[in-house]
Symmetry: none
Subunit: 211 residues, 2 copies
DNA sequence: TATCATACCTGCTTA
DNA sequence: CTAAGCAGGTATGAT
């Protein structure tokens, strides 16, 4: 269950491009931007693979060996936008479907980042170093305008909204997830609730509340 | 639909081990018993492979070459419990899943023996000679005790029971199936009904009635 | 083109 | 909690 809260941002005017990208998880810090993809349901589903559009793959990524089996393909190592973690994906060409795919390791990324259809993954490079990052799409959930209220009343407002929600089964390790989210900067912990964070073109603060 | 009939055995005292094993399809005639496996749906399905539990494989079977492709694996030749037929299976180690498998040839065995999930395959050896045998699982159907009745009343009893059963769709070739079953000694044709045969530790005659 | 066979892969499950 | 085993898959070449 997801709910989008729209709060008026305290900042005035359009935010600068760099800060917005940073908060949105776009990998603009590394030098060379390669490509992005808005992931499909298949990319984040049970097929455990990401299809890399052919023209992008051939333009930006090293050619994987077209051999079948373990001899074929390549293992690509991507760094997190913060350079902390490394993600290893098997990268192959599937001759049957004439397409380039990330296979092994991809499903873990989907799970760890809780990637959903419509989200965007972006690939960058800094010399030989590869980077991956992702950002949430704007959810098509109902937008609930929340009036700006004094801080002492905010908790009460959130609780009122929460009471209208059905709580989904909790993830395996709540603590782990919260910590990961907090570190990634894509989640804001507020009033004991993890809030997903997105910045819009408009000077709004969009909070995706995942319960 | 399956029904288990329990009849008191005419023989007195515990039956001798050899005869019981023989009737159950266990390969006790060859000297050294290796291991058994209750086959899973995957083992008899379209994956065309039998997973050999690792500890059993490493204890009893020769180490297959761990190379991929035709260079890897071994071909193992198994004799029927009667020593008549020989079954050749490719035996490999799949490093990706860390498991030992019988591949090529296995699906033919499944088909020829009409092996189903829950059935048991047993592997034995007599020196260098390898044996394979299988037996039907005991169906998890309700056990219906049938009192011992004079032979002239038995047919009537069975018919009375049959009337309470729902008849499942017939197998592909009934005649072929009956002949195969009769030859294998794993089925007893009685009153025009094929009965699967198992012997229990108790001096009971257990009949699995498959309708 | 359909089917089979090999070799990959992965989420559960459990010790 | 972690790691390993394995049941159940997919991908793709061979036939």
């Amino acid at each position: 269950m997801a709910l989008t809260l729209v709060l008026e941002s305290g900042s005035s005017g359009p935010s600068d491009d760099g800060r917005r990208r940073e908060a949105a998880g776009d990998c603009s810090r590394p030098r060379e931007r390669m490509f992005e993809k808005v992931v499909t349901p298949s990319d984040v589903g049970k097929l455990n693979r990401l299809v890399v559009p052919k023209h992008l793959a051939e333009k930006h990524l090293p050619l994987p060996l077209p051999l079948p089996g373990a001899a074929g393909g390549t293992v690509l190592c991507f760094h997190d936008a913060r350079g902390e973690a490394a993600w290893r994906f098997r990268y192959s060409y599937w001759s049957s479907s004439q397409s380039y795919v990330m296979t092994k390791g991809w499903s873990r990324y989907v799970r760890d980042k809780r990637l959903a259809a419509g989200d965007t993954v972006s690939f960058c490079r800094d010399g030989a170093r590869l980077y991956i990052d992702c950002r949430r799409r704007r959810r098509p959930a109902a937008v609930v305008p929340v009036p700006v209220v004094p801080p002492q009343q905010q908790q009460a407002s959130l609780q009122a909204v929460q009471q209208r929600l059905v709580v989904a089964p909790p993830p395996r390790s709540m603590k782990e997830e919260e910590e990961e989210e907090a570190r990634s900067g894509r989640c804001l912990r507020l009033f004991g609730v993890n809030l997903e964070l997105e910045l819009e073109p408009e000077p709004l603060l969009l909070l995706d509340l995942q319960l």
